[in-house]
Amino acid sequence: MRSIVPGPESPYTIDECKIRGEADLVIFPENAEDIAEVLRDAYGKSIPVTVSANRTGLCGGGVPDEGWVMSLEGMPGLIGMGQDDEGYYVRIGPGVSVRTLTDTMLLKRIEGLTDLTPDACGRFRRDPRRFFYPVDPTEMDGSVCGNIATNASGPRTLKYGPTRDWVRWIRVVLPDGRIIGIRRGEHHAEGRRFDCTVDDVHLSFDAPGYDFNTAVKNAAGLYAADGMDLIDLFIGSEGVLGVIAEAEVRLTEWHPLLSVIAFMPDDDSALSLIDDLRDSTVSPEFLEYFDCASIDLVRRVSAGDPTLLTPPEGRCSAVFLDMDAGDGARMRDLADIISSHGGSPSRTWAGSDAGDRRRMFEFRHCVPKSIFDYVAGLKEEMPAINKMGTDMSVPREQSPGMMSFYREKLEESGLEYVIFGHMGNFHPHVEIILKDMADLEKAREVYDVFAAEAVRRGGSPSAEHGIGKLKRRYIGMMYGSGGEEDIRRVKRYFDPGFILNRGDMVA
């Protein structure tokens, strides 16, 4: 098995949170048996193993504190294709990104894939319809298996739900090196009690006692519910219970989409437009919000970059959505709703062409990216500085109150900020534009106040980025010390030595 000793600037000891870790060795397994071998070896030597794939995480989950890094980037990608009553599904390994999966399926470039059910590839190719994997985590370069381990969601969760809903089977290498395949629907808990045999491995333990909050977008902690499916314990577990070496994910039928960006006169008109659209006949696939400050930011960036779309002149906020392109009646409804909130169809972009939509998504991406670049620039002078963005969701009835709370606290603190993101799921990102280390301190305080407020309002302090190493304190905040201990207990059952992804989710 290939392995390297990482240098001080190795890409394998850092992820998108840009915090640098340390490791003695990076190992590149090429199949599940390799993974098992590495884990057995590590177990024998009590060496912690941190698992990573494409290192697109935002909470340091794949950043090692010590020991070995097991990089799954050399694992297989697209493996096979099958079909059951619910449609087509694809078997994949950690080596495939969401982008590659989506593009391959849309273009039906499936040469070399194995038939998991008779003639599945042929039927798929001949099927006049087109299919895609609908989870859009925004970061399309992430590994699909990584997405499963973190139950990634994204804007399109509004219509399609998070990754969890699309996983039909996973193959997991447990920390002791045993390998099990878990098919959805085959192993359920009695209450919280699991007592089952999976591929000759007997499992007997209790899931955590708390109720995992599914009323809001939530990526904090292990999934737990009465009668839960064993597969759901591993999905979103951030890899602390085992390594997902293979998985099967479902596809859904594709239809042409119309992307729309409506420019609105102020922040509140954009928010009220989103509120109205959520349950309207327009039936949007996602609803994204940009406050006026975000659009100003885009305007500054696009002024120097002709490949980017330039927002219209004058101060404005914006609402971004995707909808079915084929329906003229919905388009007219949309125009009416936009007008009733002070917008105008002539100040609304509408693109269905692939190139247009690509540019509109770049436009959206421009906000977090420019903040990211800005912070990266600051890091040269202030190495300890970090991006400070929230990732909190609340229930619908709490959303206006939470938005006022954000603004009030930020104005009080005197910090500069932008608010944008998945308002369709009541999950905006508040990004604080830091100027110096004093700002960072202030921002950290405000951030914790926000997290506590989100929990108090029945929401999640980590709606989609997960816990990793950076947000561990939220576990206690959400589930209390009892809930935290429950997670530790499950972790200990599978991994008594805490060698796998040590420091993630719970310490």
Binding site: G304, D305, P306, T307
Partner: protein, 361 residues
């Protein structure tokens, strides 16, 4: 008079006889028994006050001489001051040169096409070759339409089977090459500049000059401006080529300053030319120029098939953020990094190296 103004080839007496577009009824096909020899369009331009042959012309004349057992004709448009060019054309292999006297010396497609078509009817060449320059690509189809001749654009190779030519051009972004034949005479083709090597000139070789007066008036041209950057990217040995991944305007200036310091020329991909950051004359690719440098340094160029169709480099270095960019797999060295940042750093390093760290900016 009809809509066509009497200018089209279906008009026998200044009247179109029907509403059909002109040029469609009378199929004009030169007599294949008689037609022989190859006519070459010898494009000229004026620079620094004197007239020059377009660099593509010698190769074209040489190829024509190689392909035909008959005569090599050439046509040249311009004022009397073109005379000094005769000798060069003869030395490359022209037997008969038709000089269309254009005292105004303003290129205009219609009169040039009319005169060229008339000349074809007069000399009956088996083939008519033009350079695939903007001028050649504009005038050739007009001539072809007047003669109902088959025209193949942008050829990269030609073979002769007797008087019949097989013309090969890249298609579908250069991944396929299509060999095309014309169904009548004259067989017309525009040839990519740089395709054929210049022939060895034969000093003192003589030929015949026929002077004719160009008829028909050109259009009213208000102003002619020389285009910045007349450096020829197709001649360059080292190219710094900029693509869509270059996002900062300053990077274009940086590229020119680096080019000056290392003796390179700046070229670009279509995206960059479409942005207007660099002129189309510097564009490499199927819709631009073919380049064959020793070293091609691609900054932020994804390497679409259309772009690669124009790159015949000995060595390719790619700087691109996206490790999966096709350019990276075509390159001998792929640097996975930000094109703007690398350009900035290169400039800094070169300028520091110049004079013990003195900042020249």
């Amino acid at each position: 008079m009809s809509d066509c103004g009497g200018s089209c080839s279906t008009c026998t007496d200044g009247e179109c006889r029907d509403r059909l577009p002109p040029g469609m009824l009378r199929v004009y096909d030169l007599d294949q028994e008689v037609a022989d020899g190859i006519l070459v369009y010898a494009e000229v331009y004026k620079a620094d006050g004197s007239w020059r042959l377009h660099p593509a012309v010698p190769g074209l004349v040489g190829k024509a001489a190689e392909l035909t057992t008959g005569r090599v004709f050439a046509v040249i448009f311009g004022p009397a001051e073109l005379k000094p060019l005769y000798e060069a054309l003869f030395s490359y292999g022209v037997d008969t040169l038709y000089h269309m006297r254009d005292p105004k010396a303003v290129y205009s497609p219609e009169p040039y096409a009319d005169a060229s078509a008339d000349l074809c009817r007069r000399v009956l060449p088996a083939a008519f070759l033009l350079p695939a320059t903007p001028q050649g690509r504009e005038v050739a189809p007009m001539i072809a339409a007047r003669l109902d001749a088959g025209l193949t654009a942008d050829c990269t190779s030609i073979e002769a089977d007797g008087r019949t030519l097989m013309m090969t051009r890249p298609a579908l972004g250069g991944n396929i090459s299509a060999t095309i034949a014309a169904s009548g005479f004259p067989q017309m083709a525009t040839i990519r500049p740089g395709t054929f090597p210049d022939p060895v000139p034969e000093a003192g070789r003589k030929g015949t000059v026929v002077s004719l007066v160009l008829r028909g008036s050109g259009r009213e041209v208000r102003e002619v401006r020389a285009v910045e950057g007349t450096e020829d990217v197709s001649e360059a040995k080292v190219l710094i080529s900029l693509g869509n991944g270059v996002r900062r305007r300053e990077s274009v200036d940086a590229a020119f300053r680096i080019a000056a310091l290392i003796g390179a020329t700046v070229s670009c991909s279509r995206a960059m030319a479409d942005r207007g950051w660099l002129p189309h004359s510097r564009q490499v690719g199927q819709s631009g120029k073919t380049v064959s440098p020793d070293l091609y340094i691609a900054f932020g160029i994804s390497g679409s098939v259309q772009h690669m169709a124009g790159v015949r480099a000995k060595r390719i270095v790619s700087v691109n953020r996206d490790p999966d960019a096709p350019m990276n797999s075509s390159a001998d060295k792929a640097i996975i990094g930000d094109a703007d940042a690398v350009l900035r750093s290169m400039l800094r390093s070169l300028e520091e190296g110049l004079d013990g760290g003195v900042d020249l900016s």
